[in-house]
């Protein structure tokens, strides 16, 4: 990311110009298969010789325990919830993502700031504040958005992990039970993701396709980004 840029008010104490690696974000709602595809991408990239670092939402050393505790208590207001995510993200950005990019790694982000934007928006109907808060984040080189419709998603989640309190947005009291709430909450999230897909030019991948097709599509989006990443191998044959 030779011309790395901050999303808004950046980190004044940090120069983003020496980041050699690539930052690739995979977005999409809960249960859409992001994590599986990211593991497959890592394998694919490492076989080609790229160093890969995966960074996961709420997985920072500083905050992961705090966020779990907070969620157990179910006592979160909109601001604290979003700020906990922001703190987690900042910790990973400064201690994990930026150092990796500086050393030339490909960083695969399992969810990125757009997840926080969507979640905050459905709770507040305000887009400004949360985007201001995340102003210090780096704009990724590529965002792939795994898009799914809520009917397919509901079936898939029931078949696999089951529905949980937070993925169903039960704090919003949108429905009387987990199932109704899940569908309403996830529809709102998908609606907002769709809007952001236009605004921020995500590469939209249809997540209802077979895993093989999805993986192929993801790779086809990633390849061009990496092309100008590694120095050309056969410089001697470049025509003058």
């Amino acid at each position: 990311m030779a011309d790395a840029r901050f999303f808004g008010d950046g980190l004044k104490y940090l120069n983003p110009s020496d980041l050699k690696g690539k930052l690739i974000a995979i977005e999409g709602t809960d249960g859409v298969g992001r994590t599986t595809h990211i593991e497959m991408l890592q394998e694919w990239l490492e076989v080609q010789g790229y160093g890969v670092v995966i960074t996961g939402w709420t997985r920072s050393n500083l905050m992961s325990k705090t966020i779990e505790m907070a969620k157990e208590g179910n006592i979160l207001d909109r601001w604290s919830l979003s700020l906990l995510y922001a703190t987690d993200f900042a910790d990973r950005l400064e201690h994990q993502i930026i150092p990796a990019l500086r050393s030339g790694f490909v960083v695969l982000a399992d969810r990125y700031i757009y997840t926080a934007f969507a979640r905050d928006y459905v709770r507040s109907a305000d887009r400004t504040w949360i985007r201001d808060v995340f102003g210090f984040s780096l704009i990724p080189d590529l965002v792939c958005y795994l898009r799914i419709d809520v009917e397919t998603l509901a079936l898939r989640v029931i078949e696999t992990t089951g529905m949980n309190y937070w993925e169903s947005g039960m704090d919003l009291r949108l429905g009387t039970d987990l199932y109704d709430s899940f569908k309403k909450y996830q529809s709102l999230l998908i609606e907002e993701f769709d809007k952001m897909a236009m605004e921020f030019r995500f590469n939209v991948v249809d997540a209802r396709k077979s895993p093989e097709d999805i993986q192929d599509e993801l790779r086809s989006h990633i390849l061009p980004v990496l092309k100008n990443h590694t120095p050309p191998v056969n410089t001697d044959t470049v025509p003058l």
């Binding site: 980190l11 004044k12 505790m69 006592i75 207001d77």
Partner: protein, 249 residues
């Protein structure tokens, strides 16, 4: 993108009153607020007190982060904002809505001063706190750095703490010198904030009693027209005891 939100300049709509104090460590602001608390209670007001970085949710994390020296200017700032948001939601807004008086030892201006000195963007930290409500009264206890240092070293504290002295900024290996440099920069930020947000500047070098007298006079003036809401629980139990109303009614 929509236009950015900055801290609210309009008064909050709640029947209660929010009074806050600001100032560097050693300015005596906490002492003044405690004395004000006593006085307000003696006048029959129901008063709630809240202080910076004290919510159950975040305190432990901040402590852990500070201990491991893992905090960066940005995570430091965000953790304090999370703590503030949690306290605003749980401790400040409910009593204000109920018409009570809330006293806060430090408010968002602490972040505007400290976090900017630590290196986060001036605009960013203001947008971060756009959800905060404007206090009804905001006192700034202004004190020269040497007075603050001699109070802290001579008083109960004895020694400075790592982050309080801004040791994370590597200003000086000597903790007292680091405190002096760090807090001097904070004083300079406060001087700008006082203008920007119209804080009431108090001379924190005066005697405690004299400062308190001035503070009480100002608060008394500001509370004119404010109707205190007292808890009704005590009165209700008395009422029942006196009249023994039959259960069937």
């Amino acid at each position: 993108m929509t236009e950015s939100h900055l801290p609210k300049s309009a008064p909050h709509p709640y029947p209660g009153k929010l009074i806050i104090v600001e100032g560097i460590d050693g300015s005596g602001k906490s002492t003044q607020l405690q004395l004000l608390h006593k006085w307000l209670e003696s006048k029959g007001h129901k008063v709630f007190f809240t202080e910076w970085n004290s919510s159950d949710l975040v305190k432990e994390t901040t402590k852990r982060g500070k201990k491991s020296k893992r905090l960066t200017p940005t995570t430091f700032s965000l953790l304090h904002a999370t703590d503030f948001a949690s306290r605003l939601y749980h401790h400040i807004l409910p009593p204000l809505k109920a018409g009570m008086i809330v006293l806060a030892d430090r408010y968002m201006y602490t972040a505007f001063a400290r976090d900017v000195v630590r290196g986060v963007a001036h605009e960013w930290v203001r947008k971060l706190y756009a959800f905060a409500i404007k206090p009804d009264m905001a006192f700034y206890y202004n004190v020269p750095i040497e007075v603050a240092i001699s109070r802290l070293l001579g008083g109960t504290r004895g020694q400075f703490k790592y982050y309080e002295a801004g040791m994370d900024l590597n200003l000086s290996p000597d903790i007292t010198e680091s405190f002096r440099l760090f807090q001097t920069r904070i004083l300079a930020e406060y001087a700008k904030i006082v203008e920007e947000f119209n804080l009431l500047t108090m001379d924190a070098t005066q005697d405690i009693e004299m400062q308190q007298e001035q503070m009480r006079a100002l608060v008394e003036d500001a509370l004119r027209g404010y109707k205190p809401r007292r808890g009704t629980y005590g009165r209700r139990t008395l009422f029942w005891r006196r009249f023994e109303i039959p259960k069937s009614e």
